[in-house]
Point group: C2
Chain length 272, copies 2
DNA sequence: TGTACATCAGTGAACGCGCGTTCACTGATGTAC
DNA sequence: TGTACATCAGTGAACGCGCGTTCACTGATGTAC
């Protein structure tokens, strides 16, 4: 609305820059068009407007979901003509990629912060902190959650080179938690399965064990498989709650139910 | 294409009826517009065309996903004008409801059939049969799976009175499995949690325990909570695989990984 | 058995909507001399 | 310090697309007498 006039005279309106560059660094939106460190007015404006664009896009995503995300609607709210957006994003898919990365990063920030607050030796505490932070963020950002853990957006394929780093941050926190836990008793195997199970775990996790961050670690396949199983339970529980898979009101106390399930996952992950 | 001409002269073209009424009963599509048992030509035609409409809709859903589902596209393939569809479905949401119910029913048919083939006393075998059938059907019908277990379709709310019965069939199979298993040792508590956990389970499952089919059963809250946890793990594992949450190729052997996870779920559900 | 009327299925035109993306353009900002 | 040229941001019109839904209509099917 006003913003477009501001941007016209941004050379004379410097306070706007600081306002949005604050947003830029806070919100994890420092990815696009990071130009030279010494910025002219143009570069500064470009960064500011890109940040504003992403703020608006993210708000519209949060309100109406990915399916309703529209370049024209964003342009409208920005007070721009729709074609002007193509100076800042290559196309709709490019914008989606930015939003996906932002969602992953925002969630990972929350999870990392929650885990960092727990004493490092308290692996049980760290697991529940991870799970709770994951759930709380997701409940607060259902559409962003759907974007990264729900049905893939039709006709869109996320470019791995742009999304993988952000998308594996929480899994890395989990992996480090596992390493710290297993480090004590080297080869913890929480579940006594038939012999078959060890072989299944080996086959299932073959590729993963040679992938960062755990490549090079001396890990037990069963430990990795158990960690992934805890992860599946975590994501499954949050999806069920957010997507209302069991129907509204079926679960009397969702928080208690979640804690119960994460206690089961904890036993799977860390043993008793 | 041809069909529209056929339908024009359906009174003289009776073989068409039997062809589609076979489809009608096989595919679980007997819900809409079930008129009088004694059918005139019109009623017969109506049932046939409704079935054909749903067959086409289901195929388009399977091919392009729910987001791309379009009444106009269906009409085109049917060789009708788009407005004609409104004789058969009230609107787009109505069609979605029909597709959701059909997906639930089709999946439940597969699961029930697989479980029925296992000896009733073999609860472990029944669990794995359930899980495998659930996964196999879902992998074969990813878009239909997404419709019932993925991100809810924006601006659509499923009317419970039409979807709940079909949507709980698989859960009912699971509940019966649990009852048969727990029936032996009355109150099986597979996991030794802190005392806290029993209370969590009680709070979490309060509503559910008074809901069919388990209302009236003498169930242990912890047993119900464990059953739901196994369910969460099942749906979570299938969603992760279908939606590619771990990235392509990360899991070397998806089938082995699934079996491993369902073995964990089995321990949660049935104890060791 | 035949006629008169009611019901129903499908037509075709239209309404009003929104979308992503392109392109030639103008006027401001930045740069080199 | 001032001028000439290059770069860049935003405009506005347009292209071509598809969508759900409505409405008055025609001609076939069904029904009551």
């Amino acid at each position: 609305m006003l913003s477009i006039q501001w941007s016209r005279f941004a050379g004379k309106n410097q306070e706007r820059c600081s306002r949005f560059s604050a947003l830029l660094t806070q919100g994890g939106y420092d990815h696009p068009v990071e130009t030279s460190p010494v910025r002219g007015i143009r570069a500064q404006n470009r960064a500011d407007i890109t940040a504003e664009l992403l703020t608006v896009a993210r708000r519209q995503l949060a309100e109406h979901g990915a399916a309703a995300l529209s370049l024209r609607a964003i342009a409208r709210e920005l007070g721009m003509v729709s074609s002007a957006l193509f100076r800042y994003v290559a196309n709709r898919d490019d914008l989606l990629t930015l939003l996906i990365v932002a969602a992953y990063d925002d969630q990972a920030d929350a999870v990392e912060k929650a885990c960092a607050a727990i004493d490092r030796s308290d692996v049980v505490g760290r697991w529940h902190a991870l799970a709770d932070a994951f759930r709380i963020w997701s409940l607060a950002h259902p559409h962003e959650y759907a974007l990264i853990y729900g049905t893939p957006v039709p006709r869109y394929a996320a470019p791995p080179e742009r999304t993988v780093a952000a998308g594996t941050r929480v899994l890395t926190v989990l992996a480090e938690l596992g390493r710290d836990a297993w480090g004590r008793r080297r080869r913890a195997v929480p579940f006594a399965f038939p012999a078959h199970a060890a072989e299944l775990a080996e086959r299932a996790t073959a590729n993963l064990r040679s992938t960062p961050p755990i490549s090079g670690w001396d890990v037990d396949p069963v430990g990795v498989a158990n960690g992934l199983t805890a992860w599946t339970l975590l994501v499954g529980a949050v999806s069920a709650e957010i997507f209302g898979q069991l129907g509204e009101g079926t679960i009397a106390d969702p928080a208690a139910y979640f804690t119960y399930q994460m206690s089961v996952a904890r036993v799977v992950l860390l043993g008793r």
